[in-house]
Symmetry: C2
Subunit: 313 residues, 2 copies
C-alpha cells in the first residue's frame, strides 16, 4: 500500500516489508511527508546519540537545532510551510540536569527560524539520548517525489558536501574548518525555497542521504531515468579533500533540495531565489526517459558509480 514506488537499498527493503505487512493499516508510506486532509503534511525523524550526533562534536543546543532542522527539511521537500514541532526526548540518566532544556532551546530556535513553534513533546529517561522530532506544516500545492517527467531539468539548492566534510574531519580524529562545522551544526531547512519551487516543481526531495542516494529515490518514485552531470555540482567551499564533485555528491545531510522543473522554469526561479533568499539554484541534470529508477552520474562526460552517505556506518 505504498503510494510511492520505493528506491533501492536495505532501508527501503525494510520499509517495503513493513508496508506489505501493514496492508490497509498503512497509507502513503515512502514520501518525505504524509499528506493529510486540509493540506497538512507530517513527518517524523529521529536523531540518536552515536548514530546522528555526538556530544563531543556539538553543543546540546546545536544537537537540538540540527535534529529539528533535519525533520523540518521534509516539510521543505514537499513545499510546505512549517507550523508546529513536537519532540519526544529521551535523555541518558546521569546527564547534566539542564540537558533537556538546552536540547529544546536548540529545537525551539530551529522551529522559530522557519516560522514554526514547539507545541508538544515527551520527556523520558532512557539509555540513549534521542530526539524524535515530528513536524507539521501546510502546503497549498504539495510536491511528491513521484512527478518528474522526461524533459524536466534537475536543479539543486545551495552548495553540497559541507556537512560531510565536517564529519570526515571528526572521524579522522581532527577538527573541521569553521565553515564545515557550521554546515554540519547549523543546517537550514529550505522551507522558503521549497515553497517557491513548489509553485512549479514536478517532483522534489531533500538531500538527507546525499545526492547519490536521493536522486535514485526521486527517479524510482517518478519511474524515470535521471542523468546528473557531476561537473555542474555546486560544491561547498568547505569541501577540500578528495575529488570535490564526488565528495559533494556522496555527502548527505546538507538538507538542500533536489527539484525537477519543466524547461526554462529554473532560469527564472534561480535569480528569484538568489534575490529573495540569497540561495543558489543550480541546474545539475535532466530527466531523460521512463525507467525503473536509473540514475546516470557523469564525470567529465564518463559514467561513474557513487555510493550514498550512511550516517556513521
Amino acid at each position: 500500500v505504498t503510494a510511492t514506488p520505493l528506491g533501492p537499498g536495505p532501508e527501503f527493503d525494510r520499509i517495503r516489508a513493513i508496508a506489505q505487512a501493514l496492508g490497509g493499516a498503512a497509507a502513503g508510506l515512502g514520501d518525505d511527508c504524509a499528506f493529510l486532509p486540509g493540506g497538512w503534511c507530517a513527518s517524523t525523524d529521529a536523531s540518536i546519540e552515536g548514530i546522528h550526533f555526538r556530544f563531543d562534536w556539538l553543543s546540546a543546543e546545536e544537537i537540538g537545532w540540527r535534529a529539528t532542522m533535519a525533520a523540518l527539511s521534509d516539510l521543505a521537500a514537499v513545499g510546505a510551510e512549517a507550523e508546529a514541532v513536537l519532540v519526544a526526548l529521551a535523555v541518558r540518566p546521569g546527564s547534566p540536569n539542564d540537558l533537556p532544556t538546552r536540547l529544546m532551546i536548540g529545537a525551539g530556535e530551529a522551529a522559530n527560524a522557519v516560522g514554526a513553534r514547539v507545541v508538544g513533546g515527551d520527556l523520558n529517561a532512557g539509555p540513549t539520548t534521542t530526539l524524535a522530532v515530528t513536524v507539521l506544516g501546510r502546503a497549498t500545492r504539495p510536491i511528491r517525489r513521484s512527478g518528474a517527467a522526461p524533459g524536466n531539468e534537475l536543479w539543486v539548492t545551495g552548495r553540497l558536501g559541507g556537512a560531510r566534510a565536517a564529519w570526515q574531519a571528526w572521524e579522522a580524529g581532527g577538527a573541521p574548518s569553521a565553515e564545515a562545522r557550521a554546515r554540519f551544526a547549523h543546517p537550514i531547512a529550505r522551507i522558503a525555497a521549497g515553497r517557491r519551487l513548489a509553485t512549479q516543481a514536478t517532483a522534489m526531495i531533500d538531500l538527507s542521504d546525499g545526492l547519490a542516494g536521493d536522486a535514485g529515490h526521486l527517479a524510482s518514485a517518478s519511474g524515470v531515468r535521471v542523468v546528473v552531470d557531476l561537473d555542474r555540482l555546486p560544491i561547498d567551499p568547505a569541501v577540500t579533500a578528495g575529488d570535490p564533485a564526488l565528495a559533494a555528491a556522496a555527502g548527505g545531510e546538507d538538507y538542500e533540495l533536489l527539484v525537477a522543473l519543466p524547461g526554462q522554469v529554473g532560469e527564472r526561479l534561480g535569480p528569484e531565489l538568489k534575490t529573495a533568499l540569497d540561495l543558489d539554484l543550480t541546474r545539475i541534470g535532466v530527466v531523460d526517459s521512463p525507467s525503473a529508477g536509473e540514475v546516470l552520474f557523469l564525470r567529465l562526460g564518463q559514467p561513474v558509480s557513487l555510493e550514498g552517505f550512511n550516517h556513521f556506518r
Copy 2:
C-alpha cells in the same frame, strides 16, 4: 508560555524549565495534545526498551500495539477522533531481521482498531530499541485539562490497576495472570468514549501516570481542589495484591479516562457508554473549590497519601 498550569513533580519541573527557556518559540505545552488550526490535535509519546517495555515480557507485536495505544490515549483524552499515526523506530543492531516489521504490525493493528492509519515513519539502527509514536486526530470540541469547575463530578472509565498488577508480578520474578497480562499488553485507547464524554466534559485527562498523579494534573490545570473517594474506584479483577483500592489508584498505564462532568451528566452518559461500548463509567469524586491543585484522597472517610506510578523506576 504554557497555556496550562502544570502539576507537581520533577517531570513537570523540567517541562516548566523548558517552556520558560523557549519563550515565544513554544506554545501550549503541558496538555495531553497540542491543538492546531482546523481542529487537529497532535501528541508524541516514546516507548523505550527497559523503561516502558521488555522483550521477555511482551511479543514484538504487543510492544508495537502498546506503544501506539499509549500515544493514541492522548487523543482520547481531548475527545479527538484518531486519524493518523507516525512511528520513528530505532532498533538495536543484532535484533532479528523481522523486528521492525513485527513492531509495526502491532502499531498498525492498534491504529486500525481505533480507525486510524499508519501514514509515516522513520527507521534507524540505534543502541536502544525505541518507538516514538506521534498521533494526529481531529476534535470538534477539544477538551483540555483546565476546565474543571467547583460542583463538577469526577468520573472514570473502565477499571483500574490491571496493568500495574502485571508489572508487579513480572518485577517480583513471577508471571502475571492472563487477565493482568492482557491489560498490560493490550490496552485500548478510549477514543470512542472520549468523543462521547467530550460532548459534555469540562476537563479530561488519560490515566497514564495513574489516578494518584493524573488527578493532580487535572486539578492543577483547572485551579481547583478535587476530592477522590477511593472506596468508589472501579478495581480491575486482576488486582489481587495489597489494598486493592490503593493499588488501583497508584497503578498507571491503564489508559482509562478521568473526566470532570457537570452534575447529572454522568448518570446519563454512563448507561450510554455501557450500551454502546460495553465500558463502565464510575463516579469517584467531586471538584469542590478553587485551589492551586490540591487532591484529597479519602479511604474509609479518612485522608490518605498516594504516590504516582513512575514506570520501572
